[in-house]
């Protein structure tokens, strides 16, 4: 984490027992969280309160209770100033089909207060950075989902904000488009120096991209910690071996031998990474450099063929599964509840658009 001294510099977003209650639903429930510069993932099931939080942070919806500040500005008083240096990419489609990306982004830049010539210049730059070239002069109606997402990102970046709020930026993208978008988001921070708050309901997607992950559920804070905390503590080695005549079940033989050598070993299990044969994979906790030697020597000693030995970071989701089974079960129940509540609210005339 950064070592700056003043509070304003350390936190990009700070909320203090922030609550938002609608007549039928509590969207946020005494949420207190500090978010530092960098890429932060905001994870939660649909209806967990992500969109409500974003609305409050942009100063567009008053909180029922508690306080929040963005870039050191109070959301209740300085909404306009916050929105001048914050970019927002909505979850849903928001592009008129009959204008070109260039025209649209120029207009949006001017709406952020950029003078006409600067708006045009920044538009050209930004569209290039998000990877739109010749097609930017064509009407947006003909764009693919991936291109539309890029334009949506560009309009959020065009005024060179200090923070962007990205609501489900990978929604509707195919795996390749997803990877590209996540890479782009990472670059927004590393190359452009802009802090990012990105929401998703997919935990796994954010682990590669984010420095920090905040999990909310039913409007409550479930967990907030750095991605490295999640993954470093559990660095492990995935080992897969062949079976031989001596050892018809090589995996089990290796497991017993490694146990004897004093290493913590567990089967990866079929669900771990979903790849075929993953029930033949052993996960060995890495205690230090010598672990690698021990594993190699043990395998050589047994005369097994080594198929693969690779360093592996646990997925955040896995930690939730094994780490706090109870909390997670409770969380799932909450999520289901929240989803139900949201669904019924929609059924009753959509009182809670926030959900």
């Amino acid at each position: 984490m950064s070592h700056t001294t003043t509070v304003e510099h350390v936190t990009v977003i700070a909320t203090e027992s922030l609550s938002k209650r609608f007549p039928r639903v509590t969207a946020l429930d005494r949420l207190s969280v500090d978010i530092a510069p960098g890429v932060t993932g905001l994870v939660g099931a649909n209806g967990a309160g992500k969109s409500t939080l974003i609305k409050i942070l942009l100063g567009l919806s008053p909180a029922s209770e508690g306080r929040a500040s963005v870039l050191g500005l109070d959301v209740a008083k300085d909404g306009s100033a916050i929105r001048e240096s914050v970019g927002y990419m909505p979850e849903h489609d928001c592009l008129p089909p009959d204008v070109s990306a260039t025209e649209f982004v120029v207009h949006m830049a001017r709406m952020s207060g950029l003078p006409p010539s600067a708006a045009r210049e920044r538009t050209a730059d930004t569209l290039r950075h998000v990877g739109l070239y010749e097609e930017r002069y064509r009407p947006m109606g003909g764009y693919s989902t991936g291109m539309k997402q890029r334009v949506k990102l560009a309009q959020a970046l065009v005024h060179d904000p200090r923070l962007v709020l990205l609501d489900e930026p990978t929604n509707g993208l195919d795996p390749v488009g997803r990877d590209e978008m996540l890479g782009l988001i990472r670059r927004v921070h590393t190359e452009f120096g802009i802090s990012v708050l990105v929401t998703s309901h997919l935990l796994g997607e954010l682990e590669r991209t984010c420095d920090h992950v905040v999990v909310i559920d039913g409007g409550k804070l479930l967990r907030s910690s750095s991605t490295s905390d999640f993954t470093q503590a559990t660095a492990s080695l995935a080992v897969e071996v062949t079976d031989t005549a001596d050892h018809p079940d090589g995996t089990t033989a290796l497991r017993t031998a490694l146990d004897r050598a004093g290493l913590t070993v567990q089967p990866a299990g079929r669900g771990a990474d979903g790849s075929p044969g993953s029930d033949h994979v052993l996960l060995v906790d890495v205690a230090g450099e010598e672990t690698y030697d021990t594993v190699r020597d043990t395998i050589a000693g047994l005369g097994l063929g080594l198929v693969r030995m690779e360093q592996r970071r646990h997925r955040i989701a896995e930690i939730f599964r094994s780490g706090d089974e109870d909390a997670n079960a409770a969380g799932a129940a909450n999520a289901a509840e929240a989803a139900n509540a949201a669904a019924s609210a929609h059924g009753n005339g959509g009182a809670v658009d926030a959900a």
Partner: protein, 299 residues
């Protein structure tokens, strides 16, 4: 924060000139509001939009100005003593054209933002709900003022070319301008309120046309019947129930216009004041309704 200029020093990527931060001025709310106003006003004549969307507004503008040009040409050719049509009368005569223009452009201005959900992008920027409503309202009213004011300008220029009395013509022109300003504000307000209710442009167009023509049709029919039965009293009051007859009433009472009501019985000064109050009430009411609508739409 990590160092922000790292990429600018990289030399390994030739085409990547890196991300440049914006250090220039940020002009804030008032500028953003003006930008939205000018974009909407230009859009009302199809400027900055596709060639196809220029056709309708430009055609209607031409149709609106054509009679004025003909009147002027005739007046000059025949060396007439006065223009055959009063300035205040012109918009009433061509109300169908104004109605069509309003119906085609008001939904264009507001329904699109609702339909394509562009609204949240506006409200995630420095402007507030009020700025959006004011900009859209002002743009629509200005577009209508251009449509209704341009032919008056043609008439006035022609009148001066025909060497008609300067003082007379200037007074008439000024009265005509005041009348079309009021008309523009009223039509803009009513049509935007109707159009902002639906994200569907087609519904918006139909609803605005229906509102303007049905109310006018009903009012003039009831007025005609009342007049036929010999009741001259209620005729002027009935005019309060359609936008164009309200304008007619106000200008008859205060702007030296001749009423187009049956028998020419427009409202007098007393009734006229009620007309003015209703007119201002409608304009303010439309603004209030738009504010209410957009506070709900939000993000």
């Amino acid at each position: 924060m990590p160092p922000e200029t790292v990429t600018q020093q990289r030399a390994d990527v030739i085409h990547n000139i890196g991300y440049r931060h914006y250090e220039g001025p940020r002009l804030g709310r008032a500028y953003a509001r003006r930008s939205l106003f000018s974009q909407s006003l230009r859009g009302a004549y199809g400027l900055g939009r596709s060639a196809k969307s220029k056709v309708a507004p430009m055609l209607l503008f031409a149709v609106m100005c054509m009679p004025a040009a003909i009147i002027v040409a005739v007046a000059i050719a025949t060396s007439a003593n006065e223009l055959p049509v009063k300035y205040t009368r012109y918009a009433i005569m061509l109300q169908a054209v104004i109605g069509l223009y309003t119906a085609s452009q008001a939904p264009q201005s507001v329904s699109r933002d609702l339909r394509f959900k562009t609204i949240p992008l506006y409200f995630s920027r420095p402007i507030e709900t009020m700025d959006y409503v004011v900009a859209k309202f002002a743009a629509m009213a200005s577009a209508l003022f251009i449509l209704t004011g341009a032919p008056l300008l043609i008439l006035y220029a022609g009148a001066l070319l025909a060497k008609l009395d300067f003082a007379d013509q200037t007074k008439g022109f000024a009265q005509g301008l005041v009348s079309v300003v009021l008309l523009s504000l009223l039509f803009a307000g009513i049509s935007l309120v109707v159009a902002a209710l639906t994200p569907r442009r087609g519904f918006g167009v139909a609803a605005v046309i229906a509102l303007l023509t049905i109310s006018y049709g009903a009012v003039s029919a009831v007025q005609a019947i009342t007049w036929d039965q010999g009741n001259t009293g209620p005729v002027s009051w009935i005019g309060l129930f359609s936008p164009i007859t309200i304008i007619d009433g106000v200008q008859t009472a205060f702007l030296g216009a001749t009423s187009s009501f049956p028998g020419g019985v427009g409202p007098g000064t007393g009734t006229g004041l009620v007309y003015v109050l209703v007119l201002l009430g409608l304009i303010a009411g439309s603004y209030g309704l738009l504010m209410r609508r957009y506070r709900k739409v939000g993000l």
